[in-house]
Symmetry: C2
Subunit: 412 residues, 2 copies
């Protein structure tokens, strides 16, 4: 497939399956690296052809972020360009479709002062929060995709010449997004139907907890009453069925913030704010991380956990079969959008209100009382592998197999 043809297929998938953009909507691309311009232009063309009345882009450039860390006054890192988040919020309030295109350098900030990195990150999350509220409810149709850019490619394929690495990463993205299939849109419709069937089965089961067993993993994750599973497509409050991530292989729900017990070892390194954290081990008691270690990046891990009280508790538990195309690629993408679809995973931090029946209209106190976690952060990390077993624990204490050696163990 030539590059332009591939861009066009990826763009169509993004607009039709990811966003399901409706005629008459505007599209705001709230994040896009400037190096992804060819893809962004293809998406704009595709969106206009689907009837978008306006497509506009809030471009970003990591070179500017680096210039700031290197040269800006130390006391200026709480400054924020609010025109970005004001614009995003106005867009969400108007009912626009919203797209974010990732393509980040996983090592961007690894040599920067961790205090500044923390301030920078907290400031950004604080200003993004009102927009994220719209995205999480969700009031609108939105999606996230990724674009291979040079710095990301260099991290995934450090040994390859840049152009070769770029082509390889595009190929991996293409396969993960089923763009190599004859009819990608039809392939996605079938795949999404499977995820929807599994999420509905799990929601209907109403387990009180999940039990994970694997290499260095013996963990019970409590689930609150009224939790609902999400996966595949979602329905916006505006009545549009969309797919919030491309690719997506997961079904997920929210853990009870106070009911995780046991130990785990992450099955993959975690790329967080420009640093790589390797060999993460966590111990939970009463839902809280009480012990944390890593062979590399432990200080960054501790900073993450210290962001706020909610950063020490879980906000998401997700099941992904080990046979997923992304897992089978054998690649570490250093990008959650891909890596989280290669393995079952958990997230530290904020839970999604849509994972709790009635959660969208609860007050913060009600959501917390029901077991929902709140934090500035939401950071996925992988625990799944081909050696992972998962059981659902029923209210009567009986267990039912959900995964065995990393694969689904139930029919939905």
């Amino acid at each position: 497939m030539d590059f332009q043809n591939m861009l066009q297929k990826y763009a169509e998938l993004t607009v039709r399956i990811g966003l399901n953009l409706q005629p008459g909507q505007r599209l705001l691309i709230m994040k896009a690296p400037i190096q992804a311009a060819p893809l962004v232009r293809a998406i704009a063309a595709s969106a206009y052809q689907a009837g978008a009345r306006l497509v506009d882009v809030m471009w970003g450039d990591e070179g500017l972020v680096l210039a700031r860390f290197r040269h800006a006054p130390r006391d200026s890192f709480e400054e924020y360009p609010t025109w970005r988040t004001d614009g995003m919020l106005a867009s969400a309030q108007r009912g626009d479709a919203i797209l974010a295109i990732f393509g980040d350098d996983p090592d961007l900030l690894k040599n920067q002062d961790p205090d500044l990195v923390t301030t920078y990150q907290k400031t950004s999350w604080k200003h993004l929060r009102p927009t994220l509220d719209h995205i999480e409810r969700p009031t609108i149709n939105w999606t996230v995709i990724a674009a291979p850019v040079p710095a990301w490619t260099a991290k995934v394929f450090p040994e390859l010449p840049p152009e070769v690495g770029q082509a390889r990463l595009w190929e991996a993205v293409l396969e993960a997004c089923r763009l190599d299939q004859a009819n990608p849109v039809a392939a996605w419709e079938a795949h999404l139907a499977g995820l929807v069937a599994r999420r509905e089965y799990l929601t209907q089961k109403g387990y009180v907890a999940l039990q994970f067993r694997g290499p260095d993993i013996d963990l019970t994750v409590g689930l609150p009453r009224g939790h609902t599973w999400t996966g595949g497509s979602q329905l916006s409050q505006s009545g549009i069925t969309f797919t919030p991530n491309l690719p997506t292989e997961e079904v997920f729900t929210l853990p009870h913030a106070a009911e995780t017990e046991g130990v785990l070892a992450a099955s993959m390194p975690l790329s967080y704010l420009g640093s790589l954290i390797e060999d993460i081990h966590l111990t939970f008691a009463g839902g809280r991380v009480v012990k944390a270690s890593a062979t590399q990046g432990e200080a960054v891990l501790n900073r993450l956990l210290d962001t706020d009280e909610g950063a020490r508790r879980l906000g998401e538990v997700a099941l992904v079969p080990h046979s997923s195309a992304i897992a089978q690629s054998g690649l570490l993408f250093y990008e959650s959008l891909f890596d989280e679809n290669a393995a079952s995973h958990l997230a530290l931090g904020s839970a999604y209100r849509f994972n709790l029946a009635g959660g969208e209209t609860m007050s913060d106190d009600e959501f917390a009382a029901a077991g929902g976690n709140t934090s500035l952060v939401h950071v996925d990390f992988m625990i799944g592998s081909g050696e992972m077993d998962v059981d659902g624990i029923r209210e009567d204490g009986a267990t039912e197999p959900l995964m065995r050696t990393g694969e689904w163990a139930f029919e939905a």
Copy 2:
């Protein structure tokens, strides 16, 4: 000079002489082509080193503009991404420094439907107006520079391979901006002092009109009572001396909207909204263009004149000596920022209130009654050449030579 070194000098000139950015200010780059990223990053570094608390960029991509013209619904061209202009206005109101970086394809829209182009342009000007009011008063320190990008380079050097053309255009920009001199900042300080002396001489003279004579030019441009000449540096209402354009070789004031008489032939083609207009001839009566022709792009010229009543009248008259480095380069840049500094010129459309004593605080009616022109547009076109003579006409009817064969004819 290596490329990185040149970028750094250009960045320093922009920050120190163009913006005169003050420690503690923010810098908003309200316009920048994504292809200018290396220059933008150098400017950000330079601005932070000068004490900027935040530098952020509203990037633009002409590829997205083209995608819109090619694929968007015809009735959608009045849609506008107001987050851009809301953000600019908030920035101006906060007292940020504001920078615009041009680098446009002069032919971008030449094959697009002129009705859509007009709607697109009017919509854009309408939303920009509140920000332009701040820029024109000026409440803040701001400047405009240009960055060689591929599409612009291809227009200036169509016969050269892209990399060679790019290097040549950078070289031309470098010379025009005096970056080839040992101390560009000192060279600019001397040059600006010369422009300031000429503008003060002309303001003090208080001519009632200017008389232009040259090839196919016999034109009297009336000047309103209380007009003031601008050129070189300006003083913002916030008390910062800055240089609104880099490069700049002009001194200029506002014509009386009803007092231009005679005929003119433009001395260079005019690039307007993606079309080239060649061999412009205009006839003025009572300040109004009553006859207009061009050998190419006449329809575009007429659309410009038909934008609104003010588009048929003059908003600026500017004197530039033919010996300016830009004129001597012999290049047609297809970019007003450069071409307007190669030749004396006029502008159709809106006049600047700062060119009239007390203009900043006048109501619209008062400004109009004083002779100030108002329009959505402000479009410069060149009339100067090595054969141009200009006289100032005093209130008593006597004339004084201002330029002879394109060069200054008075000592300031």
